[in-house]
């Protein structure tokens, strides 16, 4: 009987060791990849959510809705001839938000009518105390735009540009040349007491995200905010 010589410990032991280290390495690599994918996924999800939020916020603001209804009520009590037209403007805005705004793209014409109604109803609310101009140049036909991407900038101008104690001046111009749309909103800055709903920037930041998602590399947004005036210029390449 011969003794089975003990196996030299070398080969197998080293192989074993390498194997277990490799295994550990793979696990670490796997988890770090998972982590990276999940944060990336979270980030896109957050961006989507914020874009969704900005879209929701762009819909008719309850403060605007009820005060506008009260203005129309006031016209009705005075039996003013302007009552009927104001009702039609507000119902047009509501119809747009309910039946068009969930679409990815809408005719540019409809978005502009929405903006015009908003501005004209604001004029009824604040009367002649605000100097307001709104102009559209160029051809809107056959062009489409993501719904409610322009309104936050105009709402912002009213939020920071209207205070009955001071003179207001708000100028909105839209010009369309070929597929290029340029929206310019300038308002004289007035004092507005700080409050939750007036927290500056929030609405615009959300819209900025939405533009990034909807018009990647096809928009340019420049904002000038100084003590005298607030100016927004948005350039969009339409589809």
């Amino acid at each position: 009987m011969s003794m089975v010589p003990p196996r030299p410990p070398g080969d197998n032991f080293i192989l074993h060791k390498i194997g277990s280290n490799l295994f550990l390495f793979m696990i670490v690599l796997f988890f770090s990849l998972m982590l990276r994918i999940s944060t990336q996924w979270k980030k896109t999800e957050e961006e989507k959510l914020s874009a969704e939020l900005s879209y929701l916020k762009a819909q008719i603001n309850p403060h605007f809705l009820f005060n506008t209804l009260n203005s129309i009520y006031s016209l009705a009590i005075q039996k003013s001839d302007d009552t009927a037209a104001a009702v039609v403007k507000l119902s047009g805005m509501m119809r747009y938000v309910i039946s068009e705004a969930h679409k990815d793209f809408v005719p540019l014409e409809k978005e502009i009518i929405y903006l015009r109604s908003y501005i004209e109803l604001q004029q009824i609310r604040f009367g002649n105390s605000i100097v307001l101009s709104f102009s559209v140049t160029g051809n809107t036909e056959g062009k489409s735009i993501a719904p409610l991407v322009l309104i936050p900038f105009i709402e912002n101008a009213f939020k920071h540009g209207v205070n009955a104690e001071e003179d207001s001046n708000i100028q909105v111009t839209i010009s369309i040349i070929g597929q290029e749309l340029v929206l310019s909103v300038i308002n004289k800055r007035v004092f507005v007491r700080p409050s939750e709903e007036n927290k500056s920037g929030l609405g615009i930041d959300n819209t900025r995200n939405r533009l990034r998602l909807l018009y990647p590399l096809r928009h340019k947004l420049s904002i000038i905010d100084n003590s005298d005036y607030f100016s927004v210029v948005l350039e969009l390449t339409l589809k």
Partner: protein, 230 residues
């Protein structure tokens, strides 16, 4: 009659209140303001009984505006928002109207104001009509409207009355002045308290009341002429 003003930064909202007030006979809407600061300056000079106050305005909230009003006034808050209601009631608001509101709802609110007004008003007129003075071991009821002037004499004072004998009471001038309505009486001299509405003429620091000459003391001169602006 309840005197009121309305404050809202949106003119159409003021038009609603204006047309509703015109239909209520016990309400007199004196003025409306879309600039809250202008309203505050006005109230200081010309106090009213009731404020219609919008809560959400860009320069100041109606709540802060009401807190800064020093005079005692009733307030009805109006707003298109609802989350301010609780704080509105903490401030003892008469009511809280959500815009747009009907005339019936408005009437309900101003009726509440009217009840509150007549309740507090009755009390104050009853309180102000008489003053009780301890004299000659008894408590004497004196009609405030009958007082010509009060004359101080060392430890006593003499209350001169219209068509009645003067009442002599052991009372200090300071204690007497505190018993009388502050808006209607003034101390014009170390020894004289006078009802402002009985002043017949003022000349060279001498007042005439019921034919009597009453001197104005040099240390009372400034405060007297502040009240009695000519």
């Amino acid at each position: 009659m309840i005197k009121a003003i309305a404050i809202d930064d949106e003119p159409p909202a003021l038009n609603v209140i204006e047309s509703f007030c015109a239909k209520v006979d016990f309400l007199q809407l004196e003025k409306t303001f879309n600039k809250p600061n202008e309203a505050l300056r006005h109230i200081e000079k010309f106090p009213v009984d009731l404020l219609f106050l919008d809560i959400n305005m860009p320069s100041i909230t109606g709540i802060d505006l009401y807190k800064s009003v020093e005079q005692n006034m009733m307030v009805i808050f109006t707003t298109a928002y609802s989350e301010f209601a609780v704080e509105g009631f903490n401030l003892q608001a008469i009511d809280y109207l959500l815009k747009p509101f009907t005339f019936e709802r408005f009437l309900q609110a101003v009726n509440k104001a009217n009840e509150f007004y007549s309740h507090t008003h009755q009390q104050s007129t009853a309180e102000e009509q008489f003053v009780y003075i301890r004299a000659d071991y008894s408590l004497i009821k004196i009609r405030i409207a009958d007082i010509l002037f009060v004359e101080g004499l060392d430890d006593y004072l003499k209350i001169h009355l219209q068509n009645q004998k003067p009442v002599v009471a052991r009372l200090t001038m300071k204690a007497m002045l505190e018993k009388l309505p502050a808006k209607k009486f003034a101390r014009v001299h170390r020894s004289f308290i006078i009802p402002l509405q009985r002043i017949e003429s003022v000349r060279n620091k001498i007042l005439i009341i019921a034919g009597e000459e009453i001197p104005i003391g040099s240390s009372y001169e400034k405060s007297f002429f502040e009240i009695f602006k000519v």
